[in-house]
Amino acid sequence: MTSFTDSLTGWFNGLTWLPDMSPAIVAVFVAGILALAVFTFMSLNALVAVYFERKVSAFMQDRLGPMEVGIFGFRGGKKFWGGIGQTLADAIKLLGKEDTIPADADRPLFILGPFILFGAAFTAFIGLPIGWGMVISDFNIGVFFITAITSVGVIGIILSGWASNNKWSLYGAMRSAAQIISYELPLGMSLLLVVMVAGSLQFSDIVQWQEDNRWFIIHSPFTVVAFMIFLVSGVAEANRTPFDLPEAESELVAGYMTEYSGFRWSLFFLSEYASMVIISLMTAIVFLGAWLSPVAGILRMFGVPEGWYYLSGPLWGLFWLMGKVAFLIFTMMWFRWTFPRLRPDQLMYTAWKVFLPFALANIFFVGLWELLLA
C-alpha cells in the first residue's frame, strides 16, 4: 500500500540535482510539505465551510446578510455567489483583531489550550485516506489512531476553559469534558463493529472489504444502527448543535472560548470545522464506502460487466468521497437549524441510557450475525 509519504519520498530521491541527504532529513521534509498542505486545507476548509454554513442557514432561515454581500464592487444579490465577500472579509478581519489575554487568566495555560486543540485536529489528518494510496500514512492501526488523537482535543478545551478564570468558560469546559467522554464510548463501540467484520484496523483494508462485499451501512441491520449512533455521537464530539452546550451562546456567552479573541479564537474555529470534516470523512470511509462508486456497486449487483459507466477510478473516487463528505457536513448544518439545544441531563441520558446499551447490544448481535450467517 503506497501513501503520499512514499510517493513524495520517491520523488525526492529521484531529484538528482539535490545533494545527498540522509533518509531521516528527507522524511522530515516530506512530512513538512504534507503538513503545510494540511494546514492550507484546514484554513481553506474553515472559510468554505463557514460560507457553506451561512448559505445553508440563510436558506433555512431566510437571512439577508449571507445572501447579499458582494465582492470587489459586484453586487451579490440572491445568487450563489452572494455573501462570498463576507467570508473573505472574515479571514482578513481575524488577523487584524487585537489579541487580548485577561489580566486574571492563567497565562501559560491560556496560551497552551488552543495549541493542543488545534494540534489534535491537525495531526488527525495524517491517518485519513482520500483514495487508494492517497493518504499521508496508511497506519495498520488507522481507526485506533484517529479515535485516540481526536480525543486529545478535549484537554485543550478544559485547559482553555479553566485558564480563562471566567465562570462561563469553566462551565463550558466542564460540560465539554462530560459530553466528550460520554459520547466517545458509543463512538468507539460503533467503530468496533466495522473492525469486527472487516478484521482490520487499517482504513485501506476496511475499504477493500467494502469493495469486495458491500458498504457497511447496508451490511446488516445492526450496522445501520451503528451508523446512526456513530453519526450522532460524532456531532456531539465536534460540539455541534444540538450538542453545543459547551459553547451555548444564549447561556454561556461562548463557553470555553469566551475570553479568546483574534487569531487565538480562530484556532477554536478552525478546529471545530476541521473536526466536522474529520467526523464526516470517518463516517464516509467506514460506513458509506469511502471513495467507492455507488453506481458501480449497484451495477455489479446486477452483474453488468465493468466499463466507463461504472464511474470509478481515482478522480471519480475523489468525487464520490467529497460528495459523501459534503452531504454529511450539510446534514450537520441541517441539524443545527432544525433541532433545539439539549439540556445537560438529556445529553447524558442520550449517551448513557440510549446509545451505550444499544452499542453494547450491537456488538453482541453483530458477533452472532457474523458467526451464524457469514
Binding site: T5, A27, V28, A31, G32, A35, F39, L95, G96, K97, E98, D99, T100, I101, P102, A103, D104, P114, F115, F118, G119, F122, T123, I126, I136, S137, D138, N140, V143, W162, N165, N166, K167, S169, A177, A178, I181, S182, L185, L192, V195, V197, G199, S200, L201, V253, T258, G262, P344, D345, M348, W352, K353, P357, L360, I363, F364, G367, E370, L371
Partner: protein
Amino acid sequence: MYSDFAPIPVFAVLSVVLIGVALFLQRILAPAEKTALKLSVYECGEEVEGPAWIQFNIRFYVIALIFLIFDVEVVLLFPWAVVFKDLGWVAFIEMLIFLGILTVGLVAVWSRRDLDWVKMKVPYGQGRYAKLRGSAE
C-alpha cells in the same frame, strides 16, 4: 513500518510553528491598546465577583469514573475485534462474559441513579426533606 509514524512528530511541531507565525503576523497587523477594562474577564458585562477557580458541584463525576472503566474496555476490545473472525465462537463467548460483567456494572450504576441529574433517593417531602417541607408551608 515505523516510518509510518514519522509524520506525527513533524505535524505536531509544525502545528506549533504555523500557529506561531500566524500569531506573529497578528502582532504586527492588529492594534494593541490594552486597558484595564479590556483585560478584565467578560461575564455578560456584570462586574466579576471573585475568581472562577472555585469548588462547585460537578454533576456526573461518577460518570467520569465509569468512563475510565468502559474506555479501557473499548481499548481491550479493539485487538479482540481484529482477530474475532479467526477465533470464532471461543473468542465471542469469552468476550460475552467480559461484556456481561461490565453490563452488570452499568445496570448497577443506572439503578443507583448515578446517571441522573438529580440524585434523589428519598422522595420529596419525606426523610430529610420533611423538615424542609414543613418550613415552606
